[in-house]
Amino acid sequence: MPLVATGRFGQLVYDASEAIEFPVGLPGFEQHHRFVLVEQPELAPLVFLQSLESPDLSLPAVPVAAVDHQYALDLTPEDQELLGLEASQQPFPPPEVRCLAILTAPQDGQSTANLLAPVVINLSTRVGVQAVRSDARYSHRHRLGAPCS
């Protein structure tokens, strides 16, 4: 099994089939294309999007539903194409799609979730994108614990 040195999890063993390809990287990290989701039961619902290319790049995230259980996913045509999804599919998103909100926890501030740009992963193709919405319905700094719109 492949091994990757990580800042947060030390030597991390993962199955090669678990790697997720981000064809266009993530905003701010455009050069990073391969990640794994690290999920530890004691940290649920928290998961970490761990870069396989950079040991120190690990982004905390939660399922968007844990932040807003009525979250309505909206993908641009470009993102739908990358993910191999069509918005006309029923149900949408289909069950093989995971939708995560990246969290930010400043040392002395309010923790927030990025609902403007969820990380959307198609588990059947192992392709992911950070889908930046083109509407202004959700915030990139949604306060955790705040009521949802």
Binding site: P27, L59, P60, S111, A117, H140
Partner: protein, 84 residues
């Protein structure tokens, strides 16, 4: 902020070599064409905001921050929201 009224087909120029043309306009959308040198980074503003937010998220979490996050996330969400 400088405000300029333009119609489809018209354009504005920024500096020596950046031109922004209004290609089309509807009630809800404006379609822009941008001509600029390759060295000029052009991106949707929200993508830049998300990039900044991702870099802040990547600074990492201490054990106590993870605990705090889990507390917030696992708090029952059925608390009544007081009317404004």
């Amino acid at each position: 902020m400088l405000v300029i009224r333009r119609r489809p087909g018209e354009s504005i120029t920024l500096g020596e070599d950046i031109e922004i043309q209004i290609l089309d306009s509807t009630a809800s959308h404006v379609k822009l064409g941008i001509r600029a040198p390759r060295s000029v980074v052009v991106m949707r503003t929200e993508i830049r905001m998300v990039g900044e937010q991702n870099r802040a998220s990547a600074l990492g979490l201490s054990t106590s921050e993870v605990e705090k996050l889990l507390q917030t996330l696992n708090k029952p969400s059925s608390e009544p929201i007081s009317p404004v």
